[in-house]
Symmetry: C2
Subunit: 200 residues, 2 copies
DNA sequence: ACCTGAACACCGTTCAAGT
DNA sequence: ACCTGAACACCGTTCAAGT
């Protein structure tokens, strides 16, 4: 049983992050205002400033939480197909695309929020690095299995990430032509993209 | 000699686009307000509504103009190296990355502005398709020269575009680790990315 | 320590009015 | 047709005050 309603909220910080994610899904990036987030969490418009320095800091927290969830999904897939490297690679890419599609505005925010100020949001940095290291491990398994070329695994990880990320971003922004989308399913397109860097 | 200053501006529409690009370069996406754009163009804050339906429409116009300039650069490079397909491919990718770096905020706006409403901005759609067709021609030249795998050129064009675009976006958003950036120059990284889809 | 409410400077958009 | 200025609803942020 949660505490009775009182002057102090109890866990307002996390409630604000949750409210932010919900508004993002409902109203999109342009509809995300600090005042609306506060309202949804049932507090005054200035209450968030007790927990976040500014709007940017709340967005950083939403992004960080997003990377945590992305890691959960990716690592589950990676474990599931640990003994089939090429399938592991393709399914991980597909999980990434699905994550983006589940909540496109949150996904965009995750990759457009923090910018220069890396140092100011250390949790964000460590979460996103954790994701990159996972990609790197998948790449190394694929290199060992002869599915991917040999070479520096961090750079190849960047290629794999980049080709999937670029595809998702172009798709989310409606930059992929109707003609292409009619011929193949999204799943087939993702697999096709990834096969471009896989050895035959 | 331009017309004397008068009640009517003369070419306010283009002046607003120009002012918008300048503010984007100076203050970034979050600093781009319609009122600031109007002020910079020397008109009242409601004057833009004589030429654009809303802020979104001005952003669409800025994006469209951006794609026009991108096409200029890309087609120049493509013509220059028309007889060396693999160099043509790499230099075109490099031109893309440089375009993004010249004005990162405009580049981001170009790929995050229009969304669903494709139909409402036909000029934007045709400009971005024109760019894609150019990539496709470069890809076909490389396929003919045996530099790229055979297969549907629109899908391979998507791979090439996606791998470069994904890399640029990740770089712009500070998602590429310090370790990677210290070992290689940006130019080398771009070339490395592209070589992943090139045949040996 | 955490939250409220008034205040300020800014924003997008509308609309009657001026040229 | 094109532009102005007042008006409205909204925003991020600050700060004195309350618990």
């Amino acid at each position: 049983m949660p505490k009775k309603k009182s002057y102090h909220h109890g866990d307002l910080k996390n409630a604000l992050i949750k409210a932010g994610v919900e508004i993002l899904a409902k109203d999109g990036v342009s509809g995300l205002s600090l005042r609306k987030v506060a309202g949804r969490a049932g507090v005054s418009h200035s209450a968030p400033y007790s927990h976040f320095a500014d709007k940017q800091a709340l967005i950083a927290a939403i992004s960080t939480e997003g990377f945590r969830q992305l890691y959960e999904r990716e690592s589950t897939v990676a474990d599931l197909y640990a003994d089939q490297p090429s399938k592991q690679l393709i399914e991980a890419a597909w999980a990434y695309v699905q994550f983006a599609m589940d909540d496109p505005d949150r996904f965009k925010v995750m990759f457009s929020a923090v910018l220069e100020k890396e140092k100011e949001y250390p949790e964000f940095v460590s979460e996103s690095q954790r994701n990159f290291q996972l990609v790197r491990r998948i790449i190394e398994a694929n290199q060992a299995a002869g599915v991917l070329r040999s070479g520096p695994s961090d750079l190849i990880a960047l290629s794999a990430w980049g080709i999937v990320h670029g595809f998702v971003m172009l798709w989310l922004e409606g930059q992929i032509s109707h003609a292409v989308l009619e011929k193949s399913s999204l799943r087939e397109l993702v697999e096709f993209q990834l096969r471009q860097i896989m050895l035959d």
